[in-house]
Amino acid sequence: MEGLKPPDRSTGDFLALLKRHQLLGDAPPISGRHLEFKETIATTILGFKFAGGVLVAGDRRATAGNVVMYDRADKVLEIDRHSVMAIAGSPATAWEMARILEHSFQYYRRSQLQEMSVEGKVRALSKLLRDNLGMVMQGVGVVVPLFATYEKRSSEPAKLFFYDAMGAQFEATDFASSGSGASAVRSVLYYENSWGSQRLRERSRQEAILLALKALDTAAEADTATGGVDRHGKIFPIVKIVAETGIETVADDKLSDLFQTQVA
C-alpha cells in the first residue's frame, strides 16, 4: 500500500484517482510490425424488460478464432446492487471495464455519501468505451456491452441501455442484444414482442427466462461462436434478473428444469 497523499480533488471520480496514482494509463500506441494473434472474444448477450424488471442473459462461450477458448465464461457481471453489465467482445478489456465501473460507483457512493445517478452510471460506461477507441482502431479490445439497472423513483424503473463500440449510448424501449449471435436474438425478440402471445413487458418471470433460453439456443444454431444451451455438458446460460429488490441470478437447476420440460 503506498503512502498517504492529500486528496487534491474530492469529486468522487475514481478514474481521476487511478490516473493520479498512475494505476491507469492511456493505451500504448502500437506501431510498426503487427503480431498476428487471435483475440479471445465473448459472444452473444441479450436483455429485455418483462413484468418483473429487466432480464439479462448471456451464453457461456468465449472463442479465439476457430478455437473454443472457454465454455464457462460469465458475460453478465454485477456492478452494484441494482446494476448489471453484459459483455460482448474482448473479455480482456470488458472485465477490466466492469472492475473499473464497480469500483467507480462504490468510490462515488462512499466518498460523496450518495448514490450515483443512473444517468451518471450510464455515462461512466460510455466514457470507458470512448477511452478504449484507440485500441479498437488498432483492431483489438473491442467491447459492445449492455447495461441494465433499476431506478426506484422513476416512472419507468426498469432501464436497459445498449452501446456501440465508440461509446454512444442508446436506451432500449423493450429489448437489446449484442455479440456475434445478436441478429438472430434480435429477430426472435422482435418477433415475440410483435406477434408472440404477449408483449415482452407483460410476460411473467418464467416466460421471460424461457424466452431467453430459446433465443440463445436459436443464436447458437447458426453461430458457432455462441454456446447456447449445452445439452451434454449441462452448461446453461447465465440469466440474471434486475428488479426492485436487487439482482437475482437464476439457478442452474431451475434453468435445467425449465429447459428440459419446455424447450428440449
Partner: protein, 259 residues
C-alpha cells in the same frame, strides 16, 4: 529557537494540550462485535460521524469536520486503489492503520509549523468469524490501540473513542462486563456506554452514575442529539459491502427505553 530540543518538547506539549481540549467535548463512538457483525453507534448533533470506508471497513470519529473529512477521504482512496489493483480481500485495516495512518498522523502532529489533525478515529473491520473482528483507535499523534493484533493479548469484542481519557476508561470498564450477544442487546449496551462516556467526560462527574440517573442523563441529551448507528453485516461482507443502516424498528425499540 524552536530547534532547541527543550522548545520542541514544550511546543509539542502545548499542541497536545490544545488538541485534547478541543476533543474533550466530543460525543463518544462505540463499536461492538457480536454474532452477526459489528455495530457502530454514536449520537450526533448536526453532522454524520460514522462512515463506510470499504467492503468490510467503517469509521467513527471525533474532531474537526475538516480533518475528519481529510482522513476519511485518505482511507477511502487507500482502500479503493488497493482493492482495485489487487483484490477486495487484500484491503486490510491492520495494514492501513499501521503503515499509512499512524506514520502520517505522527508526522503531522510533530511538524510544529504545520497543522496537526484534530481528530480521533475508531476504525472497525468485520471478519468472517467473530474472533477476526478488529477495532483500531487512532489518535491525532499517531498512537494506535487495537482490540487484538498480537498473540497472547486477551481479545476484547469492542472498540471505543471518547472525548477524554477518563470517559474512554469508563466506557471500556462498562463494556468489559456488558452483554451484547445480538443486535438488540448490542444497541442497548452501546447507548448505555455512550451515555457513560459523555457523562464522565465532564470533570464534575468522575464516576459512573446509577442506572436511573444515567437513563435521565441520556434522555435529557436526546433533545439535542440524534442517534446514528451502522452495521457491518458479517454475511453481506462476503459478496458486496457489509455497511448498512440499522433497521428502524430496532432503533425505535432501544430508544423507547429512554422516552
Amino acid at each position: 529557537m524552536i530547534d532547541e530540543p527543550y522548545r520542541w518538547v514544550e511546543a509539542i506539549s502545548n499542541r497536545r494540550e490544545y488538541i485534547e481540549n478541543e476533543l474533550a467535548t466530543g460525543s463518544p463512538t462505540v463499536g461492538l462485535s457480536f454474532n452477526d457483525g459489528i455495530l457502530l453507534l454514536t449520537f450526533g448533533r448536526d453532522r454524520r460521524k460514522i462512515f463506510e470506508i470499504y467492503d468490510r471497513i467503517a469509521i467513527g470519529a471525533i474532531g474537526h469536520p475538516g480533518d475528519i473529512e481529510r482522513l476519511r477521504m485518505m482511507a477511502i482512496e487507500l482502500a479503493s486503489t488497493e482493492g482495485f489493483t489487487r483484490s477486495a480481500a487484500d484491503v486490510s485495516l491492520r495494514r492501513m492503520a499501521t503503515y499509512a495512518f499512524s506514520p502520517a498522523l505522527k508526522q503531522a502532529f510533530e511538524q510544529i509549523y504545520g497543522p496537526p489533525y484534530l481528530a480521533r478515529i475508531l476504525f472497525a473491520e468485520v471478519g468472517s468469524a467473530q474472533d477476526e473482528d478488529l477495532f483500531v483507535r487512532l489518535d491525532y499523534d499517531g498512537s494506535m490501540h487495537a482490540n487484538a493484533m498480537n498473540v497472547g493479548k486477551r481479545r476484547e469484542g469492542f472498540g471505543a473513542i471518547a472525548g477524554t481519557r477518563r470517559g474512554l476508561e469508563q466506557v471500556q470498564n462498562f463494556l468489559r462486563g456488558a452483554d451484547f450477544s445480538d443486535l438488540r442487546s448490542a444497541l442497548r449496551a452501546a447507548v448505555h456506554a455512550w451515555g457513560i462516556g459523555l457523562y464522565t467526560a465532564d470533570q464534575d462527574h468522575p464516576d459512573v452514575p446509577e442506572d436511573s440517573a444515567l437513563k435521565e442523563f441520556v434522555k435529557s441529551k436526546l433533545e439535542h442529539y440524534t442517534l446514528e448507528a451502522a452495521l457491518l453485516d458479517r454475511r453481506a461482507a462476503e459478496s458486496r459491502g457489509a455497511f448498512m443502516e440499522v433497521p428502524e424498528p430496532d432503533l425505535e425499540a432501544v430508544l423507547s427505553d429512554f422516552s
